[in-house]
């Protein structure tokens, strides 16, 4: 206490503690955020960025078209490696989505004010990441047009999905997650859509935002129910987000494959998901605040807090790696011991070392406040962690499947051009959606920012 007291009032400490820069009123907050959508001209930077992303999205469309024409044989998968890139990317994308729900639901329940200016685009990121994730299991089935077989519908064949299978749990978890995230996002948007409706000067915008706002007029009676619905949704989304990556980890841990069959998987997957998700939120937030001059709203405090969350979840992930390693050796099971050797010395060991470097070693610089408040370092770090988390899923899927029990059943996995083009294509889809989102909807919740202005006035 006493050591810190002398510093509490220093301008530097105050600067780092602010969730909104001083001097804002309800009207300036509204103007600033709504103008990005309504009045700001489309910049060349936006057009250039969107064109690149859209081109990559077309690569995705082309890759899927070729896949549907030729079948999954165009990918590098073959028995014994049936999963490959499709599942690696699926798990990676779903994990990224988790930070959005964590920010919007869990930090809301914990009454963390710093969530306010980042929750909207983080939730959008969740939706777009789930959209990218959903593509992979669908096309990995080989016959995506038969995907409705996974849903329990009364068929003339008289059969039902196998409800004891984690793959069916996945269908329910991911589709519920997508639906609830969309609802949560939309409910949060309603008051802001009304603001855009009231401020738009162009007829088409008035009609579109007007329809989406559904006649919201900010009645106290409406707000009353709105707030309880929002709180309840946050309460429901919190266990949901923890369940989704747990269910995805069951896809692995319920199988008996060495390296997968461990009880540490659900918490370790959830921590990894939040880790990669916060990295992606930073990857988006840093250019966004720069491009649209939102430094007043997405302050250093936000960036630093996100860095702290990354550091904490990164340590949980490190703990998971350590115990995975330790339990394999401690079990004495020769297949598990062999798996550890494969990770350290096998054909894919370079991926394993790269993973340790990206996910465990480099993020340790975040212990230092100088690093946490350096935007360039944070941006690089967020990219490193994104890569690291992708490598983690690659290591889990590929090393275990290539060398499981019988040497006669071993194999190798080499991703093909189409594996890469599909993966890069989903990055294009994700970024395209983000670009459109920033131009069409308020990237920061205006109503919540006004509330923040109100409460920060009270304290002064």
């Amino acid at each position: 206490m006493s050591a810190g007291d002398t510093h509490v009032n220093s301008p530097e400490i105050q600067r780092l503690a602010r969730v909104i820069e001083p001097g804002h009123s309800y009207a300036t907050v509204t103007d600033k955020i709504a103008s990005i959508v309504l009045t700001r001209p489309t910049s060349l930077g936006w057009l250039a960025g969107f064109s690149i992303a859209f081109t990559l999205m077309m690569v995705l469309m082309g890759s899927i078209a070729w896949l549907v024409t030729k079948g999954v044989g165009i990918w590098g998968i073959n028995i014994p490696i049936g999963w490959g890139f499709a599942i690696v990317n699926f798990v990676w994308w779903i994990g990224i989505g988790h930070a959005g729900t964590l920010i919007s639901a869990i930090l809301f329940l914990l009454n963390q004010k710093w969530r306010t200016s980042i929750n909207r685009f983080a939730e959008a990121m969740t939706l777009f990441a789930v959209a990218c994730a959903g593509i992979f299991p669908l096309i990995h089935t080989g016959r995506p047009w038969m995907a409705y077989y996974m849903f329990p519908y009364p068929s003339t064949m008289g059969i039902w999905p196998q409800f004891r299978s984690p793959l069916i749990w996945d269908v329910f978890a991911v589709s519920t997650y997508g639906t609830v995230s969309a609802l949560f996002w939309f409910v949060g948007l309603i008051p802001d859509l009304a603001t855009l409706r009231d401020r738009a000067t162009n007829k088409a915008a008035q009609i579109i935002y007007g329809m989406l706002a559904m006649g919201w007029r900010g009645s106290a009676r409406h707000w009353h129910r709105y707030q309880s619905a929002y709180l309840l949704l946050a309460g429901l989304a919190t266990p949901l987000v923890l369940s989704v990556h747990s269910v995805i980890s069951f896809d692995f841990s319920i199988a008996i494959v060495p390296g997968w069959h461990t009880t540490v998987f659900p918490p370790y997957f959830v921590a990894g998901a939040i880790y990669s998700g916060f990295a992606m939120v930073l990857t988006i937030a840093i250019p966004l605040r720069k491009a649209y001059d939102l430094e007043d709203f997405i302050t250093m405090r936000h960036l630093e807090n996100m860095a702290k969350v990354m550091l904490a979840t990164g340590l949980i992930v490190a703990y998971g790696y350590f115990f995975e390693f330790f339990m394999s050796l401690y079990s004495g099971n020769k297949f598990d011991v062999f798996l550890v050797q494969q990770r350290l010395h096998g054909p894919y060991s370079s991926y394993y070392y790269a993973l340790i470097l990206c996910n465990i070693l480099t993020p340790q610089v975040l212990w230092f406040q100088k690093m946490r408040t350096n935007v360039a370092v944070l941006f690089v770090m967020s990219l490193v962690i994104n890569v690291g988390m992708w490598l983690e899923r690659f290591v889990i899927v590929v090393i275990s499947l290539t060398r499981d029990f019988m040497p006669s059943a071993w194999g190798r996995y080499q991703p093909t051009f189409w594996d890469w083009s599909t993966f890069i294509g989903t990055l294009g889809l994700f970024v395209s959606l983000l670009f459109l989102f920033v131009r069409a909807l308020p990237a920061i919740s205006i109503a919540e920012m006004r509330e923040l202005v109100h409460t920060s006035e009270d304290h002064e």
């Binding site: 309800y26 409800f163 069916i168 009304a194 900010g218 106290a220 129910r225 429901l236 069951f250 919540e448």
Partner: protein, 184 residues
Amino acid sequence: MNLPHPELYGLLGEFDSPERLMDAAKKIREAGYRRIDAFVPFPVEGLSQALGLGRKHDLVPLLTLIGGLGGGLTGFFFQVWVNMSSYPMNIAGRPLNSWPAFIPVTFELTVLGGSLFAVFGMLALNKLPQPHHPLFNVERFKRASNDKFFLCIEAHDPKFHLEETARLLQSVNAQHVTEVRDED
């Protein structure tokens, strides 16, 4: 119903801070008006109490509970029915009603049911979507979604009297008092 002005919806007072609005709402309630509502750009703590809205106005939690229980029970018993009656499959002699394996789907459907009921219940109770409302005829009302705080006394209120009510709104420091009309 004393409606000397059939197209009149009510009187709208404008305030520039939530505190002034709350203060005015309390005074207007004390003056005996009951059909009043406030329109604000963000949720203001204590406003529902100032307007005299009790817990009974909020059925959203109950609907959410019903949705959640409904989703969960349907999900669980559906799986039991599928596995025990509709399509029993003996897998390695394990029991047909292997209920622990049904929990993930049951959980997901609980959350799904609760969320759908919370959102659509909230919208239905708020009578949204509602494309037309007399308040939208007031030009200044656009700022209810920006930086102004409004209080509306509806013409249905038994105590409503055009001149007196307008005077009352002015006496509680409303900056502008506007008549809201439902013109078609």
